[in-house]
């Protein structure tokens, strides 16, 4: 017995990791469901204070905004910094226990998971909704209802190092590669990949083959039908294999290495988003932002990501939370301030029109026709199948790209059907 203690400890340590840290609190709450209701009624001491969760990438942008909110309304907002990798899971786990925040700042593709777990409340923007970019509102809409108030939009585009290549004439991705080679540096163009692949950064190329992840209805919302199967998707798979064969796409070039290659002047072009251009500008580079040229003949449309605020379904301050999320965050002044601090395109059209930064304008144009990333909970499985297969095609591990692609489509379909 004495000796088996390390074994038991090792096994249980792992068991413990699986149940994760917050398990204790949720369990305690299970045993005592009543007190949380009692605490709600004795809440007046809490009135006037909102709790808001923000991750480390957004907290600095939010600090002056909540200070202004307090000045205007007298409502204090407690900003709680969460780790960006955990904030989404923590929110889903903590809201049912009553320990969650009133408001959480996040990305639109969390909506599906939040709604499926019943942790967010629908919001009503009313007439204000018309003032937003339609894709931004659409992004936070799930099953016909709006769950988040958008404030910023971002997408990827082609970024050019003007020192290496002053202008771009290419109309197709193949021409772009040829043009990129004239710069006589290590790579003609880089698109980040990595062990698990990166379907997000390849998506503009994929859509140029008319093979979106899900088919879209006329109003732009996604259906449950996969759009990347069939001949169009297979044509894209062959194109990927070709790029991999020509060593234009490298499976081993991950995000950090791609960024570094551009910073080091090893490539005239990189497909990336506004999160990297700040670093490029800080390094004193002269850059232009262009739409990604088409590879398959149709328009290359990137995914659009939208940032916004959600309200917890168990918020003890629903009114204050709505005041902040639907009335304050949606004003032109605040959206403009968020843009200035965060460097992302505002979701509010009136603020977006004031944007004069050429880089951001370039991203805006490149993403003008892009559709929001789907927010269904199954996207996690989609990304995994998608990236894995793409990287296997690029690296040559999958000998027959068409077969690998078709197999992937089958697996994706099973995942969509299976979790319904």
């Amino acid at each position: 017995m004495r000796r088996s203690i390390p074994v038991v400890a090792a096994a249980l340590g792992l068991a413990l990791t699986m149940t994760a840290c917050s398990s204790g609190s949720s369990n305690e709450d299970d045993a005592t469901p009543k007190p949380s209701a009692a605490a709600t009624t004795s809440a007046p001491a809490l009135s006037g204070t909102l709790t808001m969760w923000v991750d480390e990438t957004r907290i600095d942008v939010m600090k002056p905004i909540v200070a202004e909110f307090q000045e205007q309304t007298g409502i204090k907002v407690d900003l709680v910094q969460k780790v960006s990798g955990d904030i989404r899971t923590d929110f889903v786990k903590q809201v049912p226990t009553g320990q969650g925040p009133d408001v959480v700042i996040g990305a639109h593709d969390w909506t599906g998971e939040f709604v499926n777990n019943g942790v967010v409340a629908p919001i009503e923007l009313g007439d204000k909704a018309a003032g937003f970019a339609s894709s931004a509102v659409q992004a936070f809409t799930y099953d016909g209802k709006l769950y988040g108030s958008p404030y910023a939009i971002e997408n990827i585009a082609l970024v050019r190092n003007n020192k290496l290549l002053p202008e771009t004439k290419a109309n197709s991705f193949d021409d772009l590669i040829a043009e990129g080679k004239t710069a006589k540096v290590k790579y003609p163009v880089v698109i980040q990949q990595g062990d698990a692949g990166d379907a997000y950064h390849l998506y503009p190329l994929q859509t140029s083959f008319d093979a979106p992840i899900f088919t879209q209805t006329a109003d732009g919302s996604y259906t449950n039908e996969l759009g990347l199967g069939g001949e169009k998707g297979e044509a894209f798979a062959k194109y990927l294999a070709k790029l991999g064969n020509e060593k234009v796409l490298l499976a081993t070039l991950d995000g950090d290495k791609a960024k570094q290659a551009f910073l080091d002047g090893q490539t005239p072009y990189i497909v990336t988003g506004p999160w990297n251009t700040t670093a490029f500008k800080e390094a004193g580079m002269d850059i232009s932002v262009l739409p990604v040229p088409s590879a398959g003949g149709s328009e290359a449309k990137p995914f659009v990501g939208v940032q916004g605020a959600f309200i917890s379904s168990k918020s003890k301050n629903p009114l204050l939370a709505n005041e902040f999320v639907t009335n304050f965050l949606t004003t032109e002044k605040v959206q403009t301030e968020l843009y200035k601090a965060g460097g992302r395109l505002p979701a509010l059209t009136a603020s977006a029109e004031q944007v004069d930064d050429p880089v951001l304008k370039g991203f805006n144009e490149a993403g003008a026709t892009g559709a929001p990333m789907p927010s269904i909970p199954e996207m996690g499985a989609m990304w995994a199948f998608w990236g894995t297969t793409e990287v296997q095609i690029i690296s040559g591990q999958a000998k027959d790209p068409v077969k690998a692609w078709d197999k992937m489509v089958t697996n994706m379909q099973d995942a969509v059907d299976g979790t319904k």
Binding site: R3, S4, P6, V7, A9, A10, L12, L14, A15, M18, T19, S23, G24, E28, D29, D30, A31, T32, P33, A38, A39, T40, T41, P44, S47, T73, G74, T89, V92, K93, P96, G98, E113, N116, N117, G118, V119, P122, E124, G126, D127, D195, A251, T252, K314, K316, P318, L319, N322, E323, N327, P377, E378, G380, A384, F385, A404, K407, N411, D414
Partner: protein
Amino acid sequence: MSQQTLSTDSAGAPPAPPPRPRPSRSGGVSHARDYGRGFWVKVILVALIDAGAVYGILSAAAVSQWGIVAFLVVVLVAVNWAYFSRRALPAKYLLPGLVFLFAYVIFAAAYTGYIAFTNYGDGHNSTQADAIEAIQIQSEQRVEGSDAYPVTIVSQGGELGLAVVQDGQVEVGTADQPLEPVEGATEADGKPSEVPGWDVLNFASIAQQQDAIVALRVPVSDEPADGSLRTQDGSTAYIYQSTMTYDPATDTMTDADGTVYTPDDHGSFRAPDGTALTPGWKVNIGFENFTRAFTDSRISGPFISILIWNFVFAILSVATTFALGLFLAVVFNDPRIRGRKIYRSLLILPYAFPGFLAALVWKGMLNPDFGFINETLLGGASIPWLTDPTLAKVSVLLVNLWLGFPYMFLVCTGALQSIPGDVLESARMDGASAGRVQRSIVFPLLMVSVAPLLVASFAFNFNNFSLIYMLTGGGPNFEGTPIVVGHTDILISMVYSVAFESGVKQYGFASALSVLIFFIVGAISWWGFRRTRRLEEL
């Protein structure tokens, strides 16, 4: 459930002191009686623990975590009893260990076991009451094309009401009373400013009653189908219709078409045609998570090859690290080597790095196109260290060898030094060769103390999640498998990718799989320790 476990277990935590007197009190009196320096040190330490526990109790009570409160109260009482009672000598030694054992091991294990029997996960993450509330919130739909009404919150003898302006006329309604015109009311900017007979609430009182205000539904007319007015921010109201009604008497949900959704045994409201409402809630589902591990074809497919690799990985990891560690230990145990201390310190360096960090560094060094090994050491070769299925396995083993041999080296060095010199000397006197001494004397004696550690090391490597996750992430992935797992995945990393990375988190299923892994490791370790015991009978 935890509360019961908590109280019964902790109450039994301080074992009853044996009735017999303890004569072994080395001469002096115990600190429990003596008011010397030791006593005051003890008082300060216990006071600090008490202060911490009381603080914990207060903060846990503030957030209504009664389970934690109960646990801390029991700990508090037990600590004070054990360290101030004259009769609780064994408890003084046992108590700290028991507290930590309970908090870190027993609780986590019991909780994992409990979760393994539930469907806890995405879509089923709370109670039925929460699910009903969420479904109702989500099913409230703004009436299409209806106006937005600037609203004023009013009250009359404690009853809340909403006041809006419709066609130039101020109307007031409450939860029971549909909107009705009020004469003599004034408006400002399309919003009622004064309503006779009603108090207009200011922002402070609105904030105080926000739950009631947000929950308030004012019917637009006597006809329920017209919908009701509600406000979320206290300043604008919209007309909503609820498409889903809950009937507490029959515990069913009914939607606008009259379809009835009844709760099924998997924690969802389900219609006769099989469609379920989201979210559901957490329920006990018996052994389903366990049977699923064997019946789900998506998992049982790659399971066998992963299980085999898991064993190969664990066995080879132990064998290679032990072989290298033992060899180095024997070499550096020879007194003829100069500077042994320096060599030994250098050799245990890999042990000083955190494992996951080292795995990440190795991952970078092994990158086929940019890694230090290919680029610099091998002069620009492009060996697919981590992307070729076989080479990836070799790389994993090599990196684990690098990470693991210092431990074996340390253990073996210690064991070697504890072998009595006279035994070796007498062997040599009897004319045994150096190889013979190693084989027949040193090795068997060494195994007595090292063999149990090898079993423990096997158990550790069997579940070496961080190495696999950080170094290869399980990759290179199998082609076209219905779950994304790879050639270097071991069971625990497969559990992780199935239960978490597939997008829909399944804590219940993950717990069940980790319980299964625990039984595999537990059984092997038990067998291993049984075998090692024989070595002791030398």
